[in-house]
Structure formats: C-alpha cells, structure tokens
C-alpha cells in the first residue's frame, strides 16, 4: 500500500494538530507538514482538506493583510475542532498501540 493511501485517514488529525499550535495560512501549513516529514505529500492536497474541515466547522478562517500584499486566509481551530482533535488523539494512541503490538510481537 502506498504511503498516501495510509495517510488518508490520519492527515485530517495531523492538520488539526498543526493548526492548534497557532494560526496558519496555506503555504505555512504545507511547509510545516513537510518539516515534520510528510515529504511525499503533494502540497496542494491540503486545500480540498481545508475546505472540507471548514465545511464540517472544525476550523475557521479569517482574512488578514499579508506582508506580500494580498490578503491571506489564516486558519484556526473551532471548539468542535478541539473536540475532534482530542478524540483523534485517543483513537490514534489506541490504533498505534495495537499495530505496534502486532508488528513487534516476540521482540
């Protein structure tokens, strides 16, 4: 299975977590994902996800003037988003424990 396929289910949680660190705009978010090690991830993929997260009211956006000139859209978590992130945390811990146990059995 390709890494991108595996990523599909967990990228939303990762994005929510990065946004929780502080307000970000699109390019910044993509750079942070890259810095964390998601190198094979095509940067543009974040936009459909951001649109979906916003539609689900997990994140919100505000327009702010940027140094470059045009206005920039900054994303932050909503209360619902905080809740979703907390539950993602729990689900991930459970899942990674289980997978690790299976992969490292007998070690």
């Amino acid at each position: 299975m390709q890494t991108t396929q595996m990523l599909k289910g967990i990228i939303d949680g990762c994005i929510l977590s990065i946004i929780q660190e502080g307000e970000v705009y699109g390019y910044e978010l993509a750079s942070k994902l890259d810095d964390y090690g998601f190198e094979s991830f095509s940067e543009g993929t974040i936009y459909p996800i951001l649109i979906r997260l916003q539609k689900d009211k997990l994140i919100q956006s505000t327009l702010k003037k940027s140094t470059a000139g045009p206005k920039r859209k900054y994303y932050s978590l909503t209360e619902k988003g905080e809740g979703e992130l907390a539950s993602f945390h729990m689900r991930w811990n459970q899942l990674s424990n289980t997978v690790n146990q299976i992969l490292h059995k007998g070690e």
């Binding site: 390019y27 095509s42 543009g44 936009y47 459909p48 996800i49 649109i51 045009p70």
Partner: protein
C-alpha cells in the same frame, strides 16, 4: 508570477466556473492558490510540484470538497440565455427586421440555448489542454450552434411566412426595454461601466450603419468585425484588471 503558474490559475478558474462551483468558494481557493504559487516560486517550485502533474485530477478532487451551487448556476444560465436572445433581437430590430416567422420565433430562442450549451461545453473540454488543441475544441463546438443559426435563417428565407408584425413604436419600446434589461443583467456580473461599453460594442457599429444609411455587405461585415475586436479587447482588459475579490 511565472507564466506556467498564471496559466494554472486561469485554467482552474475557467474549469471551476464551468462546473458551477459556488463563486465565493472559487475566489477564496484561487486567492490561496495564487499566494501558494508565489511563495513556492521563491523556492523554485512550479505549479506541477505543488498541485501535482494532472491539474484536471486536482480540480476534480477540489470540486468534490466544494459546494456546487445548482440554484446559482441555474440563475446564471437563465440570465445568459435571456442575454443572448435579447442581444439577438435588438440587432434584428436595428437591421430593420420587425416581422418574424414561426420558424424564427421558435428557432432563434432554441439556437440561443444551443449556443449556451456549446460555450459551456467548450469551456469545460478545452481547459487543461495546450493552445492548438483547446482552440480546435472551441472551434469545433461553436460550429454546431453557428450552423444551427444559419440553418434557421435559411429555413426562414425559404419557407418562412411572417406571422408576428411589430410596428415602429412597439419596436422602439421593446428594444429600449431589452437594452435596459441587458444593462441591468450584465451590471451585476461585470459592473455598470463595462456593461455600457459592452452595449456600445455590440450595437454601436450596427446603429452607425443605419443612421448613416450605409448599404452593402462590406459595411455589415465591418460592423461585425468591430464588435468582435471590441469584445476581445474588453476581455483582455478584464483579465488584467483586479481579479480576486473575496466573498466570505
């Protein structure tokens, strides 16, 4: 911005419009994409690096997450059909045609609808292709409504008997109302000044020919050429003007 990146934004805009995506969603995404491309440019990244090798596949992914607004879409289509038909009717009046046969009354509205379908189809199919291929697609698709319109005119000339006669005052009133309607219709889309310029471009040449009582095919063709060139100039100005506005 790099040419390749600019092309990506333009094509994405055309594709999203043709797919009936909500205008606010579209402008908001294009603003972010433009910003992203410009930031990426500084690090030597191209549109293909950022949005993948297939812009069409990316656009599909994007549309799946966006609201396609059928109601807004239907309104826009209805307005465009009314607009095309209005323009056609006024130019018929200016040419002095005030009697219409059944073939014309049915044929021309139908041809405005076929025009619209062909234009939207051409926009969708031609996006993300290179210049020559995209030109051929637009050319081939606009030939269909063109032939249909010519067909209606030929049929009318051969078999048409006029059934609807409009007197001079009626023509003036109906023509005036249509022009006002057209200006109102286009104002919300492209602004009042551009709409007024559009009216002058569309009807100015023809009116001048009528007023100066110039006769002959050459003058007609000249007026047509002026309209087409005027439209092209207007479209290119529109492209260079301020493009992104955000509706939140």
């Amino acid at each position: 911005m790099m040419k390749e990146n600019e092309k990506f934004i333009q094509e994405m805009r055309v594709y999203l419009i043709a797919k009936g995506v909500d205008e606010g969603d579209m402008n908001s995404f294009l603003m972010e994409a433009e910003d992203h491309l410009m930031e990426g440019e500084k690090e030597g990244k191209t549109a293909a690096d950022i949005f993948g090798r297939s812009p069409k596949a990316y656009a599909k992914e994007l549309i799946a997450s966006m609201d396609q607004s059928p109601r807004e879409n239907r309104n826009l289509i209805a307005r465009i059909i009314a607009g095309v038909f209005g323009i056609f009717l006024v130019s018929q009046f200016i040419e002095g045609n005030t009697a219409f046969s059944l073939i014309e009354i049915i044929g021309y509205p139908v041809s405005s609808i076929i025009w619209l379908i062909a234009l939207v189809g051409a926009m969708r199919l031609s996006s993300f292709h290179n210049g020559v291929k995209s030109f051929l697609i637009v050319y081939a698709l606009t030939m269909i409504p063109m032939l249909f319109t010519v067909g209606v005119t030929l049929l009318h000339m051969r078999y048409g008997t006029d059934v609807l006669f409009l007197s001079q005052p009626v023509v003036f009133i109906v023509g005036g109302v249509i022009i006002l309607g057209l200006i109102a219709n286009f104002t919300s889309l492209i602004g009042i000044l551009t709409s007024l310029v559009l009216m002058v471009i569309l009807f100015g040449g023809q009116l001048l020919i009528r007023f100066l009582q110039l006769e002959g095919f050459g003058w007609e063709l000249g007026a047509y050429a002026v309209s087409v060139i005027g439209l092209l100039v207007m479209i290119s100005f529109h492209k260079e003007g301020p493009r992104t506005f955000v509706k939140d």
